[in-house]
Amino acid sequence: MKNNQYIDFYTQVRDTIAQRSCTLMNAHREEVLRVFSEQGFPSKKVERYKYTDVAQDFAPDYGIQLSASAAERTEFCCSVREADIDLTPYYNNIADRQDSIVALNTMLAVDALLIHVPRNIRAKHPIQINNVLKGKQDTMVNRRILVIMEEGSQADIIITDHAVDHQQFLTNQVIEVHCADNSHLNLYEIEETNLMCTRYSNVFIREGRDCSVRHTVLTLFNGHTRNACRVEMTGENSEAILNGCVIADKMQRVDNNTVIRHMVPNCQSRELYKYVLDDSAVGAFAGMILVDKGAQKTSSSMTNANLCSTRQARMFTQPMLEIYADDVKCSHGSTVGQMNDQALFYMRQRGISLSEARLLLKSAFITEVIDSIPLEALRDRLHLIVDKRMRGELSKCEGCKLC
């Protein structure tokens, strides 16, 4: 199937979309239609998409949702249509305008969720957004989220993905995060869907000065997933932490793609991604740290560690550094390994069965990522979910009232 189906679809429903959506979002549609028509889906020859067959993931004949969001207005969240501030400087501003997948989202998204934390306000409780995929037919969802952290604000945002029905679901998500000076954000994304779900996520974060942003993406159960995260550090003394963990088995595929760009001096970034791959799962990680000319005293590190517990599991990893400044401290590294036989033997000598010992080692491997989560309640819950997942008890989302 060609990308024509999406262009044809859009030209047919263009007016309906425009009517149901708003000026803010409609203003970008023609431009992205042109980008998408010219470029089509990226092939595997495009470096960033080397490990993901995009055309195949988008080939099925999905029904596409065109209704506006039914999300209720809460203290910090509302539809962009109901925003109290002018969103023109924010919407589709830091998203990559040349990326076809992002363009497709911008073209087809009818509504967008705004999370707006005003100046010097600290959101006391985590803001949680649960996405539940439901439906009687194969469906594509174009989800758009705009996060605006004003100066001095602080928030924890948890976004979860669940699937209730066993249909093919394709989620194409774009999140834009604007962090003004001295704002502090913890953004979590947790995916617990099923084998028939495909997820494309593009997260764009721009930080001002004295900011700290921690983005944690956890793929606990999925079908095919590609998560991309790009951070631009535009103000001094800011920090960016990107962490991720992946548990994949059967034929699951997970691709994480990150870019952190240090544009100014005196910023720090750290990345830690850990994968546990079983059966015939395939994982990919491509991380890039880019230090611009003049971004002196940058301190950054990137680690990607992977455990392949079968001979069939495959991991592709590509840690990258590009430095154009001369006074920086940067490191990057990657490992792919198997189970430690000595540790397995030690545990078995204490009477622990081989399967239980393997499970303990796999859980231990990603514990580092989960332990790095500052929210205690979430951390405890994730330990429980991970343990269940490893035991194969988690075939659908855990603890969700809808299931």
């Binding site: 545990m347 622990i352 231990a364």
Partner: protein, 247 residues
């Protein structure tokens, strides 16, 4: 309790044990001494079923049962315990989770209900005292960041938790200062029941002063070349292996 007949074993195709015969009765402690590379650690690994070693000939009978067909964990749950010469560090697995998995596996094998979290922690506290193991250590990952002495104490602590009937102490004294050695050895003696048997592998008399072996074997080049009483260990301590290596 344990009977080894004509045991041959190799690792990576190299034969290390070349026909070991050994009978250990209930309640006996046997010391095994020998030169470096003689096969002492291989013997202990083969008894507990380390998959890295291959048994090419012979049999090991434990309480009337041939254990060579049993998996490592089945042997452990039958009551065989190895205090490792080099305890393995397992980052990310907490001592508590590790011990709970081990104790519950043992209970399951014995047909008993698993311990409740409260009872389990109580048991941990109780047994920790025997080897004076610091509370902080049990909240860390298995052996991670433990000093050499702490690792050996941790081995005896695990022994206390699992209450084996047959123990192998593989150079448990190496790397221990005199006080730690006393704590570990006295800990072992406290845990011992009248029917508990053990193989103690060591290079030094000092540990045997505490453990008082009934029988001493000298293992050279994969064979037991001499067996005697406690006086044999004293003789080795004084004169070394020169007389036996020459044979």
């Amino acid at each position: 309790m344990l009977e080894i007949r004509n045991l041959h074993a190799s690792i990576n195709g190299k034969e290390i044990l070349k026909g070991i015969n050994l009978t250990i009765n209930d309640g006996e402690i046997h010391a095994v001494m020998g030169t470096n590379g003689a096969g002492k650690s291989t013997l202990s690994n083969v008894i507990v079923g380390n998959p890295a070693y291959e048994v090419t000939e012979g049999e090991i009978i434990f309480n009337g049962q041939d254990i060579l067909e049993m998996s490592t964990e089945e042997r452990a749950n039958a009551g065989i315990f190895l205090s490792f010469q080099h305890p393995v560090e397992i980052p990310g697995v907490s001592m508590t989770n590790f011990m709970r998995a081990a104790v519950n596996a043992r209970y399951k094998a014995q047909g008993r209900e698993p311990l409740s979290a409260g009872d389990f922690l109580k048991l941990m506290r109780e047994k920790r005292k025997i080897v004076e193991l610091d509370n902080k250590l049990t909240s860390r990952s298995v052996n991670e960041g433990f000093s050499g002495g702490e690792k050996k104490r941790n081995e005896i602590f695990q022994m206390a938790m699992l209450e084996p009937t047959f123990c192998i102490l593989d150079e448990t004294d190496s790397g221990l200062d005199v006080d730690a050695l006393r704590i570990v050895a006295e800990g072992f003696n406290k845990l011992r029941k009248p029917e508990t048997s053990a193989i103690v592998i060591t290079h030094y008399q000092r540990l045997l002063d505490y453990l008082k072996p009934d029988v001493v074997h000298i293992l050279i080049d994969g064979r037991i070349i001499k067996t005697g009483g406690p006086e044999l260990a004293l003789e080795i301590d004084g004169k070394g292996f020169a007389d036996y290596v020459a044979q």
